[in-house]
């Protein structure tokens, strides 16, 4: 092995000094207690069989990346749980700073004040956005935040049924089922109205009547993009049968929509990706997790919490708090096994929310809502297209149904450099040929026109020459 730049003690002269001090002739002697029978005794078959220089590595990786196709002009119109938003440059510069990027979990508070304060600010900014008092320093993503909320609700209420919307994000539902499998929690879907997507309140009450429900979960807006206007009533019903109420929200929409804290939520969770994170082909993202100021809830909360305190001289200081909930102290009695989380993504979200501020988040939310609604209305003008497919109101994602097969249209759009909506016709057959589109601040009017015109052009051609 030649000397390697990442391994400062790899030169033979340094190794020799160290081995002499240890009193062994070779590094092999330090492995003498490993049974011979398990020693590999050959080289691993990894990489290209030898160490590579930066020059070589860069070429190899960039060649591979060149075989990815991204959609820049226009940006993706694809929804399905995450959408393309612009990431402000400031965010990238801040989260690549060594003090954040290369730090560990702030176990030694005094030397990690900046990291602790940044995470405290993240918790605070989210708390003010959702109007709930306690926010943890992050979960892995929206889906695992949902799963942890279900587990927490079951611990708090000592019940094990969770009621969810029939239109719930199918991936989130799958994840929640996986995570709750060991705890024998049952997840039941509540009926809904096929026109609006709204939860069926009568069915909800029927399912609550046995008082065995730990929590009722609602998405706000839903996976299909609609906003369930009965959300307050759903919360009231849940509470009247001693169940918790969990809201899964879209963070930017809270610039203009009533926050979960005002809608009666006990727990609010979100996919935090819209808050300054790239699409990243699925990760890393950010699981947002907030609860009401209630001892019973806070004590059962999963994940890390940062708190404000002071140092021995009375100066403001920050540290990790309520750690007796966590695995490194409580082991099998911990509220969750989480330790590594998405702290850096939480800092990105804090920077993003700081940049936007109270006015920015509102204008961004308004901008998106109007732009998405405009796009839907323009799409609806095309014969054979209905957008949104549901009669309810939407924020940034919306369903579009087509009188023709969507898959061919989707291919056509791609051939024109447009990434269209995500097909959901297979999962929601009552919507017919249907896809989830998303419009954000990243789309210009000309992007929207291009989308609408291209779809129109395709459908016209299709109708002319069936």
């Amino acid at each position: 092995m030649t000397v390697h730049p990442w391994l400062p003690n790899s030169p033979e002269n340094i190794k020799k000094e160290m081995l002499e001090k240890i009193g062994v002739g070779s590094v092999d002697e330090l492995y003498r207690d490993i049974p011979r029978s398990v020693i590999l005794g050959r080289e691993l078959k990894v990489g290209l069989g030898r160490p590579l220089s930066e020059v070589e590595v860069k070429r190899i990786v960039q060649e591979k990346l060149s075989r990815n196709r991204i959609y820049v002009n226009p940006p993706p119109f694809m929804g399905g749980g995450v959408c393309y938003h612009h990431v402000p440059s400031t965010v990238k510069w801040i989260i690549t700073r060594g003090g954040f990027l290369t730090a560990y979990t702030p176990y030694q508070a005094e030397i990690a004040q900046g990291l602790l304060q940044a995470l405290f600010e993240y918790q605070s900014l989210i708390a003010d956005l959702v109007e709930l008092e306690v926010v943890n320093a992050s979960m892995y993503d929206g889906s695992t935040a949902v799963a942890e909320a279900f587990l927490m609700a079951s611990r708090v209420t000592r019940k094990n049924k969770i009621l969810v919307p029939s239109t719930m994000n199918p991936q989130h539902l799958e994840v929640a089922r996986t995570w709750t499998y060991g705890k024998k929690i049952t997840i039941e879907k509540v009926g809904f109205n096929e026109k609006t997507g709204f939860m069926d309140l009568a069915d909800l009450e029927d399912k609550l009547r046995d008082r065995k429900t730990a929590a009722v979960y609602v998405e706000y807006p839903s996976y299909l993009g609609f906003i369930d206007e009965n959300i307050k009533k759903i919360g009231e019903l849940a509470h009247s049968y001693d169940s918790l109420f969990i809201i899964g929200f879209e963070p930017i929409s809270l610039g203009i929509l009533e926050p979960p804290g005002k809608l009666g939520a006990d727990i609010a969770i979100a996919e935090g990706q819209p808050l300054g994170l790239g699409l990243n082909y699925g990760g890393p993202y950010l699981g947002v997790f907030a609860v009401r100021w209630d001892r019973k809830l806070v004590r059962q909360m999963p994940g890390r919490l940062i708190g404000l305190t002071e140092d021995s001289e009375g100066n403001r200081a920050f540290t990790m708090i309520l750690q007796t909930r966590e695995q490194h102290i409580r082991r099998e009695h911990a509220t969750s096994n989480i330790t590594t989380n998405e702290a850096l993504m939480a800092i990105a979200a804090a920077v993003y929310l700081s940049l936007l501020g109270r006015k920015g988040i509102r204008s961004l939310a308004e901008h998106i809502a109007l732009k998405a609604a405009y796009t839907a209305s323009k799409l609806s003008e095309i014969p054979g297209v209905r957008a949104p497919a549901l009669s309810s109101k939407h924020f940034k994602e919306f369903t579009v149904s087509f009188s023709i097969g969507y898959r061919d249209l989707y291919r056509y759009l791609k051939s024109k450099g447009i990434l269209g909506g995500y097909y959901v016709g297979d999962k929601y057959p009552w919507l017919g040929e249907c896809a989830l589109f998303c419009v954000t601040e990243a789309h210009s009017l000309s992007d929207i026109k291009l989308l609408v015109d291209t779809i129109k052009e395709y459908i016209e051609k299709k109708v002319d020459k069936p």
Binding site: V38, R67, R69, L101, L115, P284, L322
Partner: protein, 511 residues
């Protein structure tokens, strides 16, 4: 006396910065055409419009950048100096990986894009999976778990499902007393009862105690090897035989893999399921707590139980295979923490087989070099057979200092901070009193290891002369010793600025 000083800015909260009216980000102006055609009152339900604006600060872009820059300067990472936290493997994070993953051809990929759009990325992930399988001695890996603990949950659920599919009712998970806290927590989340195993005098798992508890209720055992004492489990093959003998499975916690990379593989030691921490062993940064990545690898029929999708190659193209007949389901949305996965790919690609083996050897060399320097330092015990070579880490006990001078492991830690050195993991593993768990990793310089040993010696000498002074540390960090009691007191506990505000206004109760 150390000359090191950490930055001290007395940086206000972001809420205390800025002025009404300032903005840090310009939302694009909405086009006239759109403004003229849609009205907000028609777009959103009126009942659900936000009644009062969120209490966010109003700060300009330059203020935001400066604020977080200053905060980053009062946070200590591997970029600043040694972070020898035991079991955390805080090694240097190569910048080539950081640079390459900023590429838009990764960042702008929507997770639901077709396989044909992401052939380059899928090839990276496919090769990474092959390499991780080779490194662990397993058949296949799922790259989905976002962190080690999530990987453990996957493993525990796979063990649960394995027994269920065989029609067996096994609800006990065996876990050593020195295991990482995530092991019992993950087992409990998967619905298992945790059975604690003891450590013998040599630092191995107590075989007699193991034999006494195994039986037809045993679902499996969760082990890390080398264990958290940094010692290789000498009887690993006997352990495997005993557990397999009663029908249980062996789960390998990969947090401690760094010292044996390319030398011995979990699969060859009899393990059935393995998770890896790419943010430890494979050089991806911790980011102040995350993101990480915790792929899970499995052998033989257990491959069927791995979370889907898996990445397949049909000779022409790569594709995601979602078929899940026996799999435990999804552990998170979409396809995994892609960015750290690509960084780990770059790490392995850069080092190659010889480099990975060198990583292991360097980490073990560094640990044992440090031990040799500590031999004539008084005040610290090396419990569990000091003659045995340690691997990736070593655990000392500061008990002599506590017993003789009232100086605790925490005091030692805080005094290390004053010298510009990050502290070890303290009070862990629980079986060592006043534990100082130290892991320099492969990327620490000989000079810094020597400095660390010298500072520990100085601290021990000061303990003799002036122990009360040690209890005042740290003084060179951006704040002095933090009051944890107040931080957790139901009357003062302040997890957010909102709580502080409401408390000032008298609108919040004691928690």
């Amino acid at each position: 006396m150390s000359k090191w000083r950490q930055s001290r800015w007395n940086e206000p909260l972001i809420y205390e910065l800025g002025r009404e009216g300032r903005i840090g980000y310009l939302v694009p102006e909405l086009e006239e055409e759109i403004k003229n055609n849609v009205k907000l009152s028609e777009v959103l339900p009126e009942d659900l419009l936000r009644s009062s604006a969120p209490e966010l600060p109003e700060v300009s872009e330059v203020e935001v950048l400066r604020h977080y820059t200053r905060l980053a300067e009062t946070s200590y990472g591997v970029d600043h100096g040694p972070v020898p936290l035991g079991s955390c493997t805080m090694k240097y994070n190569p910048r080539i990986a950081e640079e390459l993953v900023l590429d838009e051809r990764l960042v702008m990929l929507h997770p639901l894009q077709d396989d044909e759009d992401v052939q380059g990325l899928l090839e990276i992930l496919y090769e990474l999976e092959k390499w991780l399988a080779e490194i662990t001695g397993m058949d296949r890996c799922s790259l989905q778990p976002p962190a080690g603990a999530a990987g453990e949950l996957v493993g525990a659920l796979m063990i649960r499902k394995y027994h269920e599919l065989r029609g067996e009712d096994r609800d006990e998970m065996l876990i050593p007393d020195n295991a990482h806290g995530t092991n019992p927590a993950s087992a409990a989340m998967a619905g298992f009862k945790v059975v604690r195993l003891l450590t013998d005098e040599r630092g191995n798992l107590d075989l007699e105690a193991l034999k006494a508890v195994v039986g037809d209720k045993t679902a499996g055992i969760m082990l890390t090897n080398p264990n958290t004492l940094g010692l290789f489990e000498e009887h690993i093959m006997e352990i495997a035989d005993i557990v397999h003998g009663v029908g249980g499975l062996l789960y390998y916690d990969g947090a401690n893999l760094n010292g044996i990379l390319g030398i011995v593989r979990p699969g060859d030691m009899g393990f059935d399921i393995v998770h890896l921490n790419l943010h430890k062993t494979f050089g991806t940064p911790h980011g102040g707590g995350g993101p990480g990545a915790g792929p899970v690898c499995a052998k033989g029929e257990l491959v069927d139980l791995l979370p889907r999708p898996l990445i397949e190659y049909d000779g022409r193209k790569y594709y995601l295979d979602y078929r899940c007949d026996r799999c435990i389901g999804r552990i998170r949305a979409f396809n995994g923490n892609i960015i750290p996965l690509v960084k780990a790919y770059i790490y392995i690609l850069s080092l190659g087989p010889q480099g990975l083996r060198e990583v292991a050897e360097q980490s073990v060399l560094n640990t044992n070099y440090f031990i040799s320097l500590m031999k004539d330092v008084e005040g610290y015990d090396l419990p569990y057979d000091p003659s045995r070579p340690r691997k990736h880490e070593v655990v000392y006990s500061a008990k002599p200092l506590t017993r003789d001078y009232g100086v605790t492991a925490e005091d030692v830690a805080k005094n290390l901070l004053d010298h510009g050195l990050y502290a070890p993991t303290i009070y862990f593993p629980l079986i060592v009193e006043e534990a100082l768990m130290i892991e320099f990793t492969d990327t620490e310089t000989k000079e810094n290891i020597e400095y660390y040993a010298r500072v520990l010696k100085e601290i021990a000498e000061q303990a003799k002369e002036n122990p009360s002074k040690l209890r005042e540390a740290p003084v060179n960090t951006s704040v002095k010793r933090v009051n944890a009691v107040k931080a957790n007191h139901p009357k003062y506990v302040t997890p957010t600025y909102r709580v502080l505000r409401l408390r000032r206004e008298g609108r919040i109760k004691v928690l």
